[in-house]
Amino acid sequence: MKYDRILIRYGEISTKGRNRHKFVEKLRKSVKIALASYPKAKIEASRDRMYVLLNGENGIEIIEKLKHVFGIQSFSPAIKVERNVETLKSSALDFVRSHYQEGQTFKVTPKRSDKTFELNTDGINRTIGGHLLQNIPGLRVDVKNPDINLRIEVRGEAIYLSCENIPGAGGMPIGSNGKAMLMLSGGIDSPVAGYMAMKRGLEIEAIHFFSPPYTSERSKEKVVDLTKKLAEIYGSRIKLHIVPFTSIQQAVGEQIPENYSMTSTRRMMLRIADEIRIKQEALAIITGESLGQVASQTLESMFTINEVTNTPILRPLIMMDKTDIIKIAHEIDTLEISNRPFEDCCTIFVPASPKTKPRREKVQHYESFFDFTPLIEKAVQEVETLVITPEEQTSEFNSLF
């Protein structure tokens, strides 16, 4: 059966009272971005429903795209049928047949917004239900828990049939909750944190600390590729700020006792991230930290590292188990990139036995012998900002393809 439209139900945005209009507009924008390569598809948005009219575009591909748009609770492919009982009967039969698997149950849910149609809801129920039962052997009715719920919506211009309810990605439309900076290391966790932040309606910009020659070009590429994945999920461009971090890391190495070097390094990173955040007019910093996962993510470490700023630090993964994080990384297709075996800034300088319970006054004391501020200012000034788009990157190799 050929669908001609897709009906979209909103998620939590439905509850947003007066802000509703803004949320619907953000969602419309997200859907439009997701369907950019289907120019004939038209979006019609109203207060509580959105329709994508396919106009001949490939419905199956569009369904795949919609599954990833945040702010959609569920959606249903639907077909338009002529207002005629006989056509309705045969279309409903074809439609249910194409979904029916042996032994399944069904029910008919009619809705008649146009009362001039010859059958009332009860009539539709009996006529169509009876017709289906007669023609599909083995089909049974179950009004409470049907496998197939055939929705028939009679409207002025036509009748619409749908029976699949495809779960959407949930969450809120990207950007509807403002902007935050994501600290992106190249590991498994931080891209997942970025994904969850976007899902909750945040627009993100990524920050990566780059320490050549301790970390290689390829570890930077890895982060570019991860950002590209996030940009694909977003459907639009994401900024990636690359911070030259070598001199700070060296200074920390020289100035701070080994068991506190990791704690101090994190404090420097957070200070730099906060400076970039101010420049970019964002209101929070997102990290991939998960409580107790490594030495820098103990409660004591967070207490000590977090001292350098009072900007909200959002930690979407804080209470999650590693296995669940990995599961999401796999689903959003970042796991494979994160697993590439290149050293990044977090792995290469890890001391043999970092403090798991660092103390504020200790680290303050160690840092007091050296003024890190000029180095931090220099690093912020020398940030290289890349704009990562979901489309094909212009690569030096394009002529070969």
Partner: protein, 380 residues
């Protein structure tokens, strides 16, 4: 020279060869090496995968590079059968598949699998009902080609895919080696789990191909080693070959937009020309066929003799599929369609590509006419 044997292989595009040479000489690194030269090779490989994926309208993670159609078919069928043998041992295929499917099935039969070879009708087409009737609870895999390589019949892939949606545990493999660029197929819409492609059939290089594996579907790898291709196919990647393949696929699909219509016209002219020649029987059905293949017999003239006769005019066609033409047995596809042995012995296949012209087609018809008359006198 008129080359009308494009189903056997195609001439690599000049641009494709240039890419191959540039990558081989300038970016020769091993994608697994840590240094920058390895990095370049890896980026090329990634870009090749992304391009192939976007042209096939699938995800890059669903594209596995292989050495060609034979490997892709082996990897899909053996990989799926061996991994799922605890679930069942029954596989459904057709009697007109390519040797790299049929021989795999025979091998699996020797390992305890039960294979159903479905018959085809007189047009060389499998029926969806037959596929469904053959399904049992032990069935784990259905493997059907998209376009038959000998006569060009299009198989009802989307109908079979639709039907298989009701049997979610059965995997579906499609051999699209002959179809790509000529008969479009939406892999997602048709519930295809595995799909095989070969680059040298679309002006890429021999020794390169693709197996599409739907996300979430697993296979037992045939080649173990350094865990390349996400552990599914070990062995240092043929980066230059895959870059060349990505380019060949792009060029082919670009040409196919107008090319299919033009090719269909040439096919129609060939059919008309052949129909006028005495003793010619056309095996390629009129409806539901790929635009690039015309298979026919000239009564009483052995195909091999006729191939060599045409060669004197610098016209190159083939007897049956290139892979089995040296076996000297009549075409399995034609026999399955009910063509008598003797007529099948005389079968000739013409296969086109987008660069072929009407002028070439009429020259070939003239040559066929000439030799058909000459040879018939002698052979009688």
């Amino acid at each position: 020279m008129i080359y009308f044997d494009n189903s056997a292989t195609t001439k690599p595009y000049k641009e494709v060869l240039e890419s191959f040479i540039t990558v081989s000489s300038n970016y020769f690194g091993n994608p697994s090496s840590l240094h920058g030269i390895g990095g370049q090779a890896e980026r090329l490989l990634t870009q090749a995968r992304e391009q192939v994926a976007s042209l096939l309208k699938v995800k890059p993670s669903e594209v596995y590079f292989t050495s060609g159609g034979t490997e892709s078919n082996n990897m899909a069928i053996k990989g799926a059968a061996l991994l799922n043998r605890k679930k069942g041992n029954h596989i459904i295929t057709s009697s007109i598949e390519h040797a790299s499917v049929l021989a795999v099935m025979e091998q699996l039969a020797g390992e305890g699998f039960d294979i159903t070879y479905l018959p085809v009708d007189q047009d060389g087409r499998v029926s969806v009902d037959d596929v469904e009737k053959a399904i049992r609870k032990e069935t784990i895999l259905v493997s059907i080609m998209q376009v038959n390589n000998e006569v060009g019949t299009i198989q009802p892939i989307s109908e079979i895919g639709d039907m298989l949606k009701r049997y979610s545990s059965i995997l579906f493999h499609v051999d699209s080696v002959q179809a790509v660029g000529k008969v479009p197929l939406s892999l997602y819409a048709n519930k295809v789990d595995f799909c095989s492609f070969s680059a040298h059939k679309f002006h890429g290089l021999k020794g390169t191909g693709v197996l599409y594996v739907r996300e979430g579907v697993r296979l037992l790898p045939l080649l173990s080693g350094g865990n390349q291709e996400r552990k599914m196919r070990s062995g240092t990647e043929n980066v230059a070959g895959f870059v060349a393949m990505a380019k060949a696929l792009r060029m082919t699909l670009e040409k196919s937009k107008q090319g299919i219509t033009d090719m269909r016209k040439i096919q129609t002219s060939l059919r008309k020309g052949l129909a006028d020649i005495e003793g010619v029987r056309i095996h390629t059905p009129l409806e539901g066929t790929a635009p690039h293949i015309v298979n026919f017999s000239i009564e009483g003239i052995k195909s091999e003799v006729f191939i060599h006769a045409l060669e004197q005019e610098e016209v190159f066609v083939s007897t049956t599929s290139a892979c089995s033409s040296k076996k000297k047995s009549p075409s399995k596809t034609l026999l399955s369609m009910g063509v008598p042995d003797k007529l099948a012995d005389s079968s000739i296949r013409i296969s086109l590509t987008f660069d072929n012209t009407e002028a070439e087609a009429s020259a070939v018809i003239t040559a066929i006419k000439k030799y058909a008359n000459q040879l018939r006198k002698v052979m009688k």
